[in-house]
């Protein structure tokens, strides 16, 4: 019984470690997308973003990234919502940041 309990702990550890690594990657990819939009490296349009050249996750996850852009007032100001999503041990993890950006 002790071994079964210990195995449960080990599995919980692995799951927690994967989630920690994945969350760290998702936060970094969201920052990369936001900085790309802010700097003009990505167009200020809504849609899926492919960051294969700019970002390699530290963990073995496949990150899907989406940008939603809405116009704000005054002219030239936009609300940018970046969403990074990955499956981690059959659990869907999402990190979202919304900020305001002037059109570069």
């Amino acid at each position: 019984m002790a071994v079964v309990v210990a195995a449960g702990f080990l599995d919980a550890h692995m799951s927690a470690a994967r989630r920690l690594e994945a969350r760290s990657d998702l936060v970094r990819v969201v920052e990369t997308v936001l900085e790309s939009v802010r700097g003009g490296a990505l167009p200020m349009v809504s849609g899926e973003v492919d960051l294969t050249d700019e970002f390699q996750p530290l963990s073995s996850i496949r990150v899907r990234t989406k940008v939603v852009v809405t116009t704000k007032s005054p002219q030239g100001l936009f609300s940018v919502r970046v969403e990074a999503r990955a499956m981690v041990r059959s659990e869907d993890m999402v990190v979202t940041i919304t900020t305001q950006v002037w059109k570069p």
Binding site: V3, H13, A17, E21, R28, E35, S36, G40, L58, W102
Partner: protein, 174 residues
Amino acid sequence: MNSRGTSLVELLVVLALLSVMILVGAQLVVHSMELLGATGRAVSNPLVVHVTSRLRHDVQEAAALQWQDSIWIEEPLVLITHDGAIVSIALEDGNLVRAQTTGPGSPPDRRVILRGVTGWWWRNPVEGVVDLNITYLVNPAPERQSSRDVGFGLERRQENLRFAIRGGGGGTRW
């Protein structure tokens, strides 16, 4: 009547087996907790978090780059702030060194911000955006440790960072 109870020897043997199982289980539990702690420290390595924060601040606060290159290069990254100070970040003998010069003729303030660095690359893919690529040595993730002793061996880890320059004024990038 042929009743047969449990002998003292049998009882001791059962107790010994139970003790061994509990000992093994407890060791696994303790080890798993140690691994979880090590993973947390590896993911949010305070030194790397500090260096990343330092680089983020330097690049975002810069007004311009001294020179630009759209392909990856290993040369020092030289940033010019809005008040004319020059911040240089370069790889020197395995150390990432940050040097800041506040004015002409003044000696640079040089500091090692990260040791164990094996690769330093940067590029300027479009004007106003800087990509950084740093490779450094860290303790491997717990499940990849070939020994149960934390700190056995080192592995390379790579950070890819992208920052937009914002210190030029004008407000259009904020």
